[in-house]
């Protein structure tokens, strides 16, 4: 039986990298009495896979892992058991049983949306972001940027990879950049790359450390439509 777990990552836990989060969850499964299935062999490991790794420093409301279990309690009980062994900074928000035909979260990932904030200890640049966004994002038919990879440079058209780009204002009237971008193994787009390109367009210097990135959710491509990974499967009564 396969289970999809959704969790939030916030606070100091944002400094814990993906590999360590995986190790953390393996131990949580044991502490939380989840009847997780193990692989065969001399050093058996838990059958567990994560949807989309989150970079160090990024917080999230929508992280996912799929596990294989031998048996399970109800969603409600399992949530309670797991949250009882969580640390501050990780909260389990959903525990659902996947259908036999549901694909692994990892292979489904197609998009993710984010909010990017200017951190409190940094000044907001004195520009009209909203008006500029119109010119930068909505009007052109293509936005070409060069992405530096380990081996080479790659020219990408942001227009094809950014599905939405909006700006809202928080209670202190500071801008919050909303980005819905292509994610996954083939065309993974980091949201800070889009914002940095926007800053460059504005003639502003972009300091990655001045921005807090928050992932809202991760989506799979189901018949050409983006569906939140958390909406798949069903609640166990």
């Amino acid at each position: 039986m396969r289970i999809r777990i959704k969790f939030k990552k916030y606070g100091v836990m944002k400094f814990i990298g993906h590999l360590d989060i995986m190790r953390y969850f393996q131990k949580c499964m044991r502490r939380g009495n989840i009847d997780i299935a193990y692989s065969e062999g001399f050093s058996p490991h838990q059958i567990m896979s994560f949807a989309a790794p989150l970079g160090v420093g990024i917080t999230s409301d929508g992280e996912y892992l799929d596990i294989e279990v031998n048996s399970t309690k109800s969603s409600e009980e399992s949530l309670k058991d797991l949250n009882a062994v969580m640390l501050e900074g990780i909260e389990i928000t959903s525990y659902r049983k996947l259908g036999n035909s549901d694909k692994k979260a990892m292979s489904l990932v197609a998009a993710a949306d984010y909010e990017l904030f200017i951190k409190e200890n940094y000044e907001v640049p004195d520009v009209n972001f909203e008006a500029a966004l119109e010119e930068y994002f909505h009007k052109p038919s293509e936005i070409l940027i060069t992405k530096q990879t380990k081996k080479s440079e790659k020219v990408m058209d942001l227009k094809k990879l950014v599905y939405d780009f909006k700006i809202r204002r928080d209670e202190n009237n500071r801008p919050v950049f909303y980005l819905h971008v292509c994610t996954g193994s083939t065309d993974n787009l980091k949201p800070e790359l889009v914002l940095s390109s926007f800053y460059e367009y504005l003639g502003l210097e972009f300091h990655p450390l001045s921005i807090q990135i928050h992932r809202i959710d991760v989506y799979g491509d189901i018949n050409g439509k983006f569906v939140s990974l958390g909406e798949m499967g069903e609640i166990i009564e």
């Binding site: 916030y10 606070g11 100091v12 836990m13 400094f15 814990i16 990298g17 360590d20 190790r23 953390y24 393996q26 131990k27 949580c28 499964m29 044991r30 502490r31 193990y38 001399f42 050093s43 058996p44 490991h45 838990q46 160090v56 420093g57 062994v85 640390l87 501050e88 900074g89 951190k119 450390l209 807090q212």
Partner: protein
């Protein structure tokens, strides 16, 4: 939400920010305002090493069980953060509250090996506490050191207010009670130290005066006033079974060196190897009850979620209930995906059977630590392992499917000759020959024998505390001899040889048996930039040699001299249980190539019988 001592900018710039944020599973966060005694517990090395240390986990748990104590952890900042903290004058902080170490009442530092001494100075320096104990004021924490190197604390005497000699479980309660009383009395810092010096096991270096002979050796080592004990007796737990043990150990996020449940089955060792300090200072051997250990194993696995459990002791095979314990661990946990790791096991039919159940034979290797190549030299060091036993164990293992053997030796041992060194290669070859005796169709290719050597450093409270060391060139020559001898073996293609640089050995030798005059050299070395000396990437011998030269210290005085039997050692004020007479006897036995039987075979009158416990009273009821 928790406020961190370091900014996002710093944490995202440095390597492994998880080292500095706390928040680990089973960490204990106390209310600062509601606790009277704030104790910062430090392991002066990088987080991954420090978090793997059992002693700190025991004391952290024990201290925090007291309602009036808030005990938090501190580790050495890695050089990347060290630089930033110095540049921005950021004070070193403890992980749980993220508060500056200087705001604590105590800074406790465990001193596990000599090569962390500059890291101790780093911790004090970054904590912004005056480096020298004499310069500290009433507002500064008391700095207290413990651990095996506290059995010769003298090179560090300038930097510590106190040392705790022995096992921490015993005297800290008295120290904490005294602290509370002193705090409300508003008396001076010196007054507290004088009172503390009267608690068993507490050594306050500033209350002792050392005078020297013309040849540089110690003339006298005496308390400066009446009422301060001339001898400090080591503290030890006599009831191991009911002694506190952390059933909810901390679980780090990043992979620590010891990423598993550690079950301490006994303390001490019955063997009496003459080079081994642990084998002397942790005497007598004291076992824990097997039923309690089973309960601990269960609880600790449950509370941590670890997928591996390991036994901890100096010689697991000597634990009398080993079979019962190991069988229980395998039956109870193996099916639940828990790995069982069994270090320090003697290779015999039982251990091979157990190992075949818990490891993948093709991948795992057998470990032997003969420590010396020839039987003659093994008799000198009292290592009871014989060639026959090694070959038999290896033979059985090879027949059981093992192909890899690791062999550990020391070079530079007292009385060692070229023949003893060459015997190392010879022994490795004989093991290989034993492997190739197995018919070709029954074995799978070549065997792999790995020889590793380290250079011997004489330690206080061992029979070799009088022995001389050698110049660096001599150690390297020893390694070359072994290397040449390996190349001359018939089975050289199955044998691999590893050895280390010798600079660190010499330095370790200086510090291990040094005196308080070394303090200024240590400080100079730190000021020269020495840090993380235990890490070969960072160790810089020239900076150390410069520090000795600047401070007028002759390193050879500490290493190249064979000490006279009546010399007063810097550590002689400590009563470690084993008597100096016993150690002298054992030194003489060593030179006479005479083996001393282990504690279970025969009592050798080492002196620890006075504690009336452990192996000394076994079968004597």
């Amino acid at each position: 939400m928790k406020k961190l001592a370091l900014s996002d900018e710093i944490l995202l710039e440095i390597d492994k920010p998880a080292r500095y944020i706390g928040n680990e599973v089973n960490s204990i966060v106390k209310d600062w305002e509601k606790t009277d005694i704030h104790f910062a517990m430090c392991f002066p090395d990088v987080y991954e090493i420090g978090m793997s240390h059992l002693g700190i986990q025991i004391l952290y748990d024990m201290f925090n069980k007291r309602e009036d104590v808030c005990c938090e952890r501190v580790y050495s900042p890695w050089p990347d953060l060290h630089k930033i903290m110095k540049e921005h004058k950021l004070p070193l902080f403890a992980l749980e509250s993220q508060k500056p170490v200087k705001d604590f009442d105590f800074l406790g530092i465990t001193i596990q090996y000599e090569m962390c001494y500059t890291n101790i100075l780093q911790v004090i320096d970054l904590a912004q506490i005056p480096m020298l104990a004499t310069e500290r004021s009433i507002d500064d924490p008391f700095i207290i050191g413990g651990g095996p190197c506290a059995y010769n604390p003298e090179p560090l005497a300038d930097f510590f207010d106190m040392f705790y000699i022995g096992e921490g479980e015993i005297s800290y309660n008295a120290l904490f009670d005294l602290y509370k009383e002193w705090k409300s009395s508003k008396k001076s810092r010196e007054e507290f130290l004088k009172q503390a010096a009267k608690i068993p096991g507490i050594y306050v270096p500033s209350l002792y005066k050392v005078t020297y002979n013309e040849d540089g050796t110690i003339q006298a080592f005496t308390p400066i006033e009446d009422g301060i004990p001339a001898k400090i007796e080591k503290q030890l737990v006599m009831d191991m079974t009911s002694s506190p043990y952390p059933e909810k150990p901390l679980v780090p996020f990043i992979k620590a060196t010891q990423d598993r449940v550690v079950l301490e089955i006994q303390r001490g060792c019955i063997r009496g190897c003459r080079f081994c300090q642990a084998g002397m200072i942790y005497r007598p051997t004291r076992e824990k009850d097997v039923e309690v250990l089973k309960q601990y194993a269960y609880n600790m696995l449950k509370n941590t979620g670890h997928e591996e459990i390991s036994l901890s002791s100096l010689s697991s095979s000597d634990y009398s209930e080993l079979k019962e314990l190991v069988t229980y661990l395998i039956d109870e946990f193996k099916g639940n995906g828990v790995n069982i790791s069994l270090p320090s096991l003697r290779i015999d039919a039982f251990s091979l059977d157990v190992m075949s159940k818990v490891q993948d034979i093709r991948k795992s290797s057998l470990t032997f630590a003969p420590e010396a190549g020839s039987q003659r030299l093994r008799d000198v060091i009292n290592k009871g392992l014989t060639e026959e036993v090694i070959l038999q164990g290896a033979g059985e293992a090879f027949e059981g499917g093992w192909q890899k053997v690791k062999l550990y030796f020391m070079l530079g041992l007292p009385t060692e000759t070229v023949e003893d060194q060459e015997a190392i290669a010879d022994l490795a070859n004989k093991i290989a020959v034993r492997y190739y005796e197995i018919p070709k169709e029954q074995r799978k290719g070549k065997c792999q024998i790995t020889i590793s050597t380290s250079f011997f450093v004489p330690k206080p409270f061992t029979p070799f505390q009088w022995a001389k060391m050698y110049p660096k060139e001599h150690y390297l020559e020893c390694a070359r001899t072994v290397n040449e001898a390996v190349k001359n073996q018939l089975n050289k293609k199955s044998i691999k040889y590893n050895w280390h640089e010798a600079d660190v050995t010499v330095l370790e030798g200086i510090l291990a048996r040094g005196d308080r005059r070394l303090g200024k050299a240590l400080l100079a070395a730190y000021e020269n930039g020495c840090l993380f000396d235990a890490w070969s990437d960072f160790f810089d011998n020239e900076k150390w040699m410069d520090a000795f030269a600047k401070t007028g210290i002759d390193p050879d005085f500490y290493t190249l001299r064979e000490r006279a039997l009546d010399e007063i050692f810097p550590w002689d004020f400590i009563d470690a249980g084993v008597t100096k007479d016993f150690l002298k006897r054992e030194y003489a036995n060593a030179l006479a190539e005479k083996v001393t039987p282990n504690c279970r075979m025969q009592c050798n009158g080492c002196g620890v019988g006075k504690y009336k416990g452990g192996v000394c009273v076994e079968n004597k009821n």
